[in-house]
Symmetry: C2
Subunit: 194 residues, 2 copies
């Protein structure tokens, strides 16, 4: 019964501290000692919950990625018409990136860095399937451009990461109007007919 007795709160505190410190200082400047201190835990305790530093950051990545996709598809019904369904998911993702910007920022850092093991990266991608299914359906119906899912993601979704990052740096603020413009650009870039 070993694992079950350990406090989930403590694990979560460690994950939370990891996100916050890596966001602010980068992976290279967040020692285990600081993570422990921020989580109000002894450094040694970390090793009761995680194998080592790499495992801690891998698990943190998977946790946040799962939260992200769960949020994105929370209210999505796979029978929704294409355009409406896409707008729904897009808005949820935008919402996540803005409201949970700490988490979104952490993902952006992980996704552009060799700090996450390839295995965990693969694990994180899995839950995006509903969006890929929607696109598949959209292509069949002649509503979505018949191009690679990577291209669709690059133009429809990924720009939100850049905008979130830019906003986080204080360069500009993504208000309601911007968001509507962003949606129009996203939709323009992947819909058929032009």
């Amino acid at each position: 019964m070993a694992k079950l007795q350990k406090s989930i709160d403590k694990r979560n505190a460690l994950v939370k501290a990891t996100i916050e410190l890596v966001n602010n200082n980068g992976f290279h400047a967040t020692p285990m000692s600081k993570i422990a201190k921020m989580a109000n835990v002894s450094p040694a305790t970390i090793y009761l919950y995680f194998e080592n530093k790499q495992d801690l950051v891998n698990q943190t990545y998977i946790d946040v990625k799962a939260e992200y996709t769960k949020y994105a598809f929370a209210n999505y019904d796979p029978t929704t018409p294409i355009e409406e369904g896409f707008k729904m998911i897009w808005k949820r993702i935008a919402d996540f990136k803005l409201k949970e910007s700490e988490h979104a920022m952490f993902l952006a850092q992980c996704d552009n860095t060799p700090m996450i093991d390839e295995e965990s990266r693969q694990e994180g991608i899995k839950h995006l399937q509903p969006l890929l299914d929607l696109w598949e359906r959209g292509k069949k119906e002649g509503i979505i451009k018949p191009i690679s899912d990577y291209l669709l993601y690059a133009y429809a979704i990924n720009p939100l990461s850049f905008l979130m990052m830019t906003q986080k740096r204080g360069a500009f603020t993504l208000d309601k109007t911007h968001l509507e413009e962003a949606y129009q650009s996203a939709w323009s870039s992947i819909k058929m007919c032009q």
Copy 2:
């Protein structure tokens, strides 16, 4: 004459080694000793060219960013018509990201990480002005959507970083066809009229 006597080759070798090691291992796992070894130089010698590790990575970032924008605008003439000018710059940027993908990857890592000082980041942005000017002109002529430059960059340019990264990971290959589709998506997302 202190600085001038030092070998520019040695400096470049250090910058090159930094890019390669940071790309492959991340900043957190590239010690000065390894950089020195890869550049065939003593660790102590690094400090004749750079103040410290932070300075080395800052200067590397600025170097690569300057190379990037120089490449992007190499054959651009500010009097070119909007659509043609945009296509020209876009293709050059795409070209850079694919042909100089090591450098592009390094920039992507720097841009999503707190590893670069804010000052050096600002320095790196400066040289993008010709593109912003083109957009300004395009908005006035009613050809480009009258939205924030950040939005335009997010949809017209930034997706290339994602695609380059995806390609680097081996998930898919960005061939000629994909590139043409990508351009169409980029242009669709920022042009007026729909």
